[in-house]
Every structure is written in C-alpha cells, then in structure tokens.
C-alpha cells in the first residue's frame, strides 16, 4: 500500500460532495480552480466520479437525507483516499448543531463506514481559498 500512499500526495484528483451546505464553502472550493488561486498547477483536478478520485472535499453539515448518499460515495471512492472537511459546518456542525435534520458531524458519518479513514479538517465560515490550499498541503505531507 505504501507506493499508493506515496503517489496520493503527488497530484490528488478531487471529488466535491455537498451534504447540506449553504453553498458558500462550495463557492470557495470552485474558486480554487479559477486562475487567481489555480490549484491545477499542483495537479489537482476536479473529476466527475468518485471512482476516479483520490480525495473527497466534503462541505456542509451532514443532513439526514444526505448522510445515506455520503456513505455510498465514500464506499465507491477508490482507496486509499483522504477526506477533507471544508468549513465549520462539516467539521462540527457549526451553528446548526440543534437542527431537526442534522444527523451529526461528517466525521462520525464517515467513521461508520470506515473507522480508519484519513480525515482532515479545514475550519472557517467559509475558509479562505488560501486556507484550503494550506490545509490540503499540510494534511498530505503529514500522511
């Protein structure tokens, strides 16, 4: 497995999942691909299917309806994969902690499928694109 982990760090292809976000974090994630911040120079590409992805970018508090779908997407992502939780809502439900539709912070949802998942947290509301890049780089160099 170690050569797979080694090449995970080189040029991770990402898949973006929104499990109940207000879309601000999604806008910041899509901003990363614009020429101003340009993560394509690192080789990071947005792919259309989780089966092609090395990393999942998850935004949003985990709602009851979306938690089922997120577990399915995580199962279909090719392992090894890293999960990045973007935003205060994904890290620990943010301001929606007592909402009627909130199933729980996203790391609990993912750990039900895979207790040894690689999870990294990027807090902020929304986190600045520079913060997201720095979070991804720090997490990948620490694996």
């Amino acid at each position: 497995m170690s050569w797979r982990i080694k090449y995970l760090k080189k040029s991770p292809w990402v898949f973006h999942v929104n499990v109940g976000a207000c879309n601000n974090c999604d806008i910041e994630v899509v901003n990363l691909l614009t020429p101003k911040f340009d993560v394509e120079r690192f080789g990071i590409k947005l792919v259309g299917s989780p089966r092609h992805a090395d990393a999942l970018l998850v935004t949003g508090v985990g709602t009851r309806q979306a938690a089922i779908r997120l577990r399915e997407v995580y199962r279909q992502t090719s392992k090894p994969c890293a999960v990045f939780l973007i935003g205060a809502c994904a890290c620990d439900t943010g301001i929606f902690h007592s909402g009627y539709h909130v199933e729980g912070p996203v790391d609990n949802i993912i750990k039900e499928v895979d207790p040894n998942a690689i999870i990294a947290y990027v807090p902020g509301c929304p986190p600045k694109p520079e913060a997201i890049i720095s979070g991804v780089v720090k997490a990948l160099s620490a694996i």
């Binding site: 709602t63 009851r64 309806q65 007592s98 909402g99 009627y100 539709h101």
Partner: protein, 146 residues
C-alpha cells in the same frame, strides 16, 4: 391604478375581514378567519389583481396562522393576508392551488413542517423532509424538541 384606488378596491371586501391595518403607505395587513381564506385569496389574486409572492406559516400559542403575501408592482405596495386557524387539534385550510399553481410547493412545505392539512391540494407529497422522516412529527411546532 395608484395607491388610493388600490386602498378603495381592497376595502370592497371589508365585511369578510376581522382586521385592516395600514401602518405605512405601502404596507397593508388584512386579517381573516380560515373559512374565508379561499374567497379572499381569489379576490386578491384575480380581481384586484395582485402578484403572489410567498406564504408563511406561524405557530402561535393558541392558534396557527398562515400569511399570504401579495405585491402590487405599480406602487410597490405589499399586501399581507393573515389567516387564523383556531383549531389546534386538526388544523385545516382550503388550498389556493386550483387557481394559483405557484402556491403548490409552499403549501406542501407548510404541511410538512407544521402539519396543517391543506384540503383539495392537487399533489400533496413530501417536499423537504427526509424520505425516512417519521410521519406525524412536525418539526416546526412549538412543543416538538429534537
């Protein structure tokens, strides 16, 4: 028509209302009971005519209220019709979707979250609650805790 003609036109239905307030020149509040809601909404939408904006559902302590908001774009006036539903055990109101298809989704949402039964609705399905949410639990009612 300008604002005075609008005020005069709305005063035609004053006998069915239990309250009429105009705190500002471009803001009118009308109150009525749930029995007259269908006829008053039909008058406001077709005879004045006004543009339907949105509906709001409120859980007051002793009754439910549904507010229908209409806009009159020539003068920028917003007219709100407050419907009181006195029966808290089996709240019900007549649907306005037969002549106002734009209200279908907001009535589905009010039924999902507050449990107010909307009669004669053409397509009453679940709108925003999860598929496995239990029936009969209405999250936005005051007595429901998480």
């Amino acid at each position: 028509m300008n604002q005075e003609e609008l005020n005069k036109k709305i005063s035609e239905i004053k006998d069915k209302l239990i309250g009429y307030e105009q705190p500002l020149d471009n803001r009118i509040y009308l109150s009525c009971e749930s029995e007259n809601s269908y006829a008053l909404n039909k008058f406001l939408f077709e005879d004045v005519p006004l543009r339907f904006v949105i509906a709001t559902g409120i859980d007051s302590e002793d009754c439910f209220e549904i507010l229908y908001h209409y806009a009159y774009d020539q003068t920028g006036c917003v007219i709100t019709l407050k419907t009181f539903i006195r029966d808290r055990e089996n709240p019900a109101v007549e649907s306005i979707s037969p002549f106002l298809p734009a209200a279908e989704w907001i009535e589905r949402e009010i039924h999902d979250l507050l449990g107010i039964e909307i009669k004669n609705h053409p397509d009453m399905r679940r709108l925003i609650l999860a598929d496995d949410w239990p029936e009969g639990v209405y999250p936005l009612r005051k007595e429901v805790k998480k």
